[in-house]
Amino acid sequence: MARAAQKDSKTESGKKLSNVSKDDLLKYYREMVLIRRFEERAGQLYGMGLIGGFCHLYIGQEAVAVGMYAAAEKGDQVITGYRDHGHMLAAGMDPREVMAELTGRIGGSSKGKGGSMHMFDIEAGFFGGHGIVGAQVSLGTGLAFADFYRQNGNVSFTYFGDGAANQGQVYESFNMAQLWKLPVVYVIENNEYAMGTSLARASATVNLSQRGASFGIPGETVDGMDVFAVKDAAERAAEHARSGKGPYILEMKTYRYRGHSMSDPAKYRSKDEVDEVKATRDPIDHIKTMLQQAGVAEDEIKTIDNQVKAIVLEAVDFAQTSPEPDPSELYTDVYLEA
């Protein structure tokens, strides 16, 4: 391919909206609300000192993980950076294990030894949770190589941020992925900021969907606040990768509502800017409006809200009652044999 294709996903998703079933609407609503309520609670536990260290919340970006996951098939892999709670919940991981990892308990997905940024679940096909910005892009490319090698029809969904998109190893990976036609979908979650630095302050070009152009990797910019736009794009990208055509890049335009991590003074953007996004682009409000338009009763939505609340409370309870790991665990999992 000489030039990377660019499509406008909004119109495509607009065309398809009539096909959206009520069940899908309810499913995605539930998944997105689960992430949001989970993250709100995690933020509270952090404030109470029950979670220590670093904790990066996914609030505002829920439609990306949920919409992308809708295109996943059994055996596909997901890998991301440190802002990982949402991806794990979307991949179907037990919220109790995720919360207990945050509190550093033995019931956590990494036995309390990884923490917020470092979680894994082989059954969910979730390959982490990585604290080193950009490293997961190369790892995800390797996962795709394994899919290619086995010819198993699976795809590696490799997520990273707008800031991570400037790491050199991203481009080493792009080249290898296209050279070897690996089944990888690179999902760039462009939430406009890398910590305290806005995209334009650190990037010579801001159209991140075109970052693979020089390698001939097709890319699309997607409204990452619209779960159906995300899902449509995800299906196109996954189909491209699955059918042996190689990598595909999706730039998700999204926004993080909270600070970068829990200790972010947020001096680099105005409250007005954040409020404006919350008021006009909120992904959960968006799907809620669709539910109402589809004639779903307020009660049915309430029921979901209550179910989600119960799940999250159970996770919180588990995360506080699961014991701390025994000090002997300190030396396990360093090598195969302790």
Binding site: G52, G53, F54, Y82, E101, G104, R105, S110, K111, G112, K113, G114, G115, S116, M117, H118, G131, I132, V133, G134, G163, A164, N166, Q167, G168, Q169, A194, M195, G196, T197, R201, A202, S203, K267, Y268, E324, P325, P327, E329, L330, Y331, V334
Partner: protein
Amino acid sequence: MASMNMIQALNNALDITLASDPDTLIFGEDVGYFGGVFRVTDKLQEKHGLTRCFDAPISEGGIIAAAIGMGAYGLRPVVEIQFADYILPAYDQLVSEAARLRYRSGGEFWAPLTVRSPYGGGIFGGQTHSQSPEAIFAHITGLKTVIPSNPYDAKGLLIAAIECDDPVVFLEPKRIYNGPFDGRPDQAMKTWAGHKDAEVPEGHYTVPLGKAAITRPGSEVTVLAYGTMVHVALSAIEESGLDAELIDLRSIVPLDIDTIVASVKKTGRCVIVHEASRFSGFGAELSALIQERCFYHLKAPIGRVCGWDTPYPHAFEWDYFPGPARIIRALNSAMEN
């Protein structure tokens, strides 16, 4: 004189250098507009302009490599790597280029860059935000590695590092940015206010690289430490009731071996304390140097109190962190022989 915490002292050092040397410039992730995640570069862009203090993309390899190039052509870059754990993507550039340029050009080219980076644990940062990688820099001939333990030294050592014509890795113990920490997490956080080493002269001064400080003179046992561990060791010594001599190394390369040897010959006993894991840690080098020079003066095996030989865990912060209880055990064991 002004009372400063470590962040203010470092900021002040950078401010003074930017003002006095037009070839000095600062760049790194979030350091410009935002002022740095730990605020060490706060207001420097506002004050000195966009070309003197600026934001870099998240590209550690590129940042350090570009700084080497700038340095080779006469600039004096000071880069911030947000956490020492992220220097690793640039390790090749530091080792193969920065450290070796002078030697392989027969002294014609060198790279006078300073890499500032917060390091160390006690902050629940887990395996990618709490490491103490000093030994992997100390091992590289051609690099200098400096670690301050208080605001006065932080400013004086940073100015000395920037003015030094060799590449310097300047590791800032982030646990003590805002106040000394004696390794007792259950006690109220202290600030630097009122601490004698928080009295910082406002103008230019340097603390020479390669000159250790005797933080507490003593006669019974020598304790070697740097960074946060100076405060933890001091607290342990006080609790132990022993008359220990505490030496703050301040820079591990160059190393003030004379001060160390004089002390160990006097006391005949030595305990080395660092946060980094033990195996092949810097304590191993110290221990070897001491036994080579002080063998016939030693009354007990040299003790090492270090992080465990595991990755830095998320749980177990205070089991991993070498706190006062472990240091006291090592001191007592050194005294038994």
